[in-house]
Amino acid sequence: MPEQASLLSVKELSRVFILRSGLTRTRIAAVNRVSFELAAGRPEIFSIVGESGSGKSTLARMLLGLLEPSEGKIIYKGRDVTAIRRRRDRLAFMKEVQPVFQNPFDTFNPLKKVETYLYETVYNFGMTDNVREADRIIDDALRAAGLSLVEVKGRYPNELSGGQLQRAAVARALITQPSLIIADEPVSMMDASLRMSVVNLFKELKERLGVTVIYITHDLATAYYVSDRIVVMLRGNVVEQGPVEKVLAAPLHPYTRLLKESVPKPDPKDKWEGEVKLATSEGVEYARAGCKFAGRCPYVQDACIREAPPDVEFDGRIVKCHRVEEIASGTAQPAQNGSAPPEALRSPKAGSQAG
């Protein structure tokens, strides 16, 4: 079978940090042996979801060449990203792979007008030297993101609302006409209608311009709506990955089920019952030898605490769980001891219903 040309190939990628709290030092693998492929010539929207502190941004920063991996490889269009040394090659790579970050208030310097950063991007990447042409490029990008240059011109970041500023950040990423956009929680500050306009914008970029988008988010509803494939991260590990119609509509990993169940449904008649069991400190979960979810999982068994679960190929996806077959067939019995699991997890079917 001929190997498909890939746009981005991530192989066994890891990144280790040392966390200090007080006198204790903990070694955590914020990204632990993560692998996936994005095919060339087949643009897609690839979502990465998971709780806070599960390694999503660490992964994104490595993909953007902003952080050195501890182990593993990142191959972009056949080139090892971590081996790029020359300034010109780095610039070319940065032009191809553009970031959109989480907090627009960090992206934009509060003391500079919003457009300054947009012009800087145009000039730094050598898009043009001509001011009028720069205006046009910037206005096009802003319009693609639902703004315009006249609206933005002369204004400082604090004169725009959070949502308006984030659209300006998306516009900035569009300036260099990239092949891959890595958007780290681009809509977390936005309201539903702007979220829809940004994810629809990603859809359009994918369909019209063939741009692939890595969409990192906490918002499972838009992730479901917009993406083709999804990976679910838990404390550095990908615990479930596959087509979004399977992973989110009918999640198998108990952690994916908990995530899905925790999305507040816009319906006052359908509220949660019972209290959710929050994660103990991140460090504790990272330090677990076995499954990182063992402390919260309703189906936990001895094996889960002792050994890290294998990647099991099941029903068109990959699930990192010792008990995936039993959970899928509904025969897994929740553990009796410990505090009560969240109600969605008590019934094996509740989490797997679509809608």
Binding site: S21, G50, E51, S52, G53, Q102, N103, F105, G146, E151, G154, E159, L160, S161, G162, G163, Q164, E185, S188, M189, M190, D191, A192, S193, L194, M196, S197, N200, H218, L220, A221, T222, Y224, Y225, E245, L248, A249, L258, L259, K260, S262, V263, P264, K265, P266, D267, P268, K269, D270, K271, W272, E275, V276, L278, A279, S281, E282, Q353, A354, G355
Partner: protein, 333 residues
């Protein structure tokens, strides 16, 4: 009984650049009340003026923000206090005891170089009778414990805490002096869904136990559905609908609210959802008529001439739309 009232409130950002005055009508003729023992939600698109309204209700009005009309009234121990006319000293007296707030992006307002217990100390320094460090730590620890937070966080620096933990600490600060009304501006935005669920549980527990009032500003309709009793819908600086949470979700009357509720994506449905046609109007331009007219599928000629008044259409339900009532909005002075 109402605890906080806005009467025909107008709060504009007025700036001058190159001799040209720019006026952003962020809060434009808003009347509303916060009642005793309720969770009131304020919803609406980004930039519609939610944070500005909240700041004005709190009396945190600094240039370029200016109150150009109407007033804000607190009812403290049965007496009315006009916040818009109060001196900074008078305001300081009622803030934190009568009202307190959790500002937008508040996870980032904790002083990064001070331990949490010192932030607690700074916070109570001018507001409570003198107290020893030990007493203070004990008080703060008890308060944190009642909110389900481990007392160890008092010794931590902000960077050692997760985003959700920091947010819960800021909620703990805002509730320490047992205020009657707590304003929270996007307290769960940018938190992951599980931590958000924890924060929602926390806020709802505080409100149930203290029987105080909570004003929750967020654009997340899911959070409104789970937490609030009543909802005020804002659009382009104006309140366009107000009602019980059940009503707003089951029978929204304003076309904008209908759109807001109807366009939410749900897991399991991949059908293409059109983003709202067009954008909300710019608030720095002269505006007449209904602010939603350019995006409204049911716009009538009348809608361009005057703004509709917010009128009662049923029990605890108000709408500003000519489809529902022909009454025009009265301007405040």
């Amino acid at each position: 009984m109402s605890l906080v009232r806005a009467e025909s409130l107008k709060a504009y950002y007025i700036t001058k650049a190159y001799g040209v005055e720019r006026v952003v009508k962020a809060v434009d003729n808003v009347t509303l009340e916060v009642r005793e023992n309720e969770i009131l939600g304020i919803a609406g698109e980004s930039g519609c003026g939610k944070s500005t309204l909240m700041k004005t209700l709190l009396g945190i009005v600094q240039p370029p923000l200016t109150v150009v009309g109407g007033r804000v009234v607190y009812t403290v121990d049965g007496k009315d206090v006009d916040v818009t006319a109060a001196s900074p000293q008078e305001l300081e007296g009622v803030r934190w005891r009568h009202v307190s707030y959790v500002p937008q992006g508040s996870m980032n307002v904790l002083n990064p170089v001070r331990r949490i217990k010192h932030t607690f100390r700074d916070f109570v320094a001018h507001r409570v009778q003198r107290m020893s460090q030990a007493e203070l730590v004990k008080w703060a620890a008890e308060h944190l414990k009642s909110l389900g937070l481990p007392p160890e966080v008092l010794n931590a620096y902000p960077h050692q805490l997760s985003g959700g933990m920091k947010q819960r600490v800021t909620i703990a600060l805002a509730t320490l002096l047992k205020p009657k009304v707590i304003f929270a501006d996007e307290p769960t935005t940018a938190l992951d869904v599980i931590v958000q669920r924890g924060v929602i549980q926390l806020l709802s527990r505080i409100q149930r136990e203290e029987k105080n009032s909570l004003v929750l500003v967020t654009h997340d309709m899911g959070v409104h559905a789970h937490l609030t009793h009543r909802i005020v819908i804002m659009y382009a600086g104006k309140v366009i609908e107000e009602g019980s949470t059940a009503k707003i979700f089951s029978a929204p009357q304003h076309p904008y609210t209908q759109y807001l509720i109807g366009s939410l994506p749900v897991i399991g449905d991949k059908e293409y959802r059109v983003s709202a046609p067009g954008n909300p109007p710019r608030l720095d331009r002269p505006l007449t008529g209904c602010r939603f007219v350019d995006r409204c599928p049911k716009a009538m000629p009348q809608c361009r001439q005057a703004a509709p008044a917010l009128v009662e259409t049923g029990k605890d339900h108000k709408v500003a739309c000519f489809l529902v009532s022909p009454e025009e909005e009265k301007e405040s002075a």
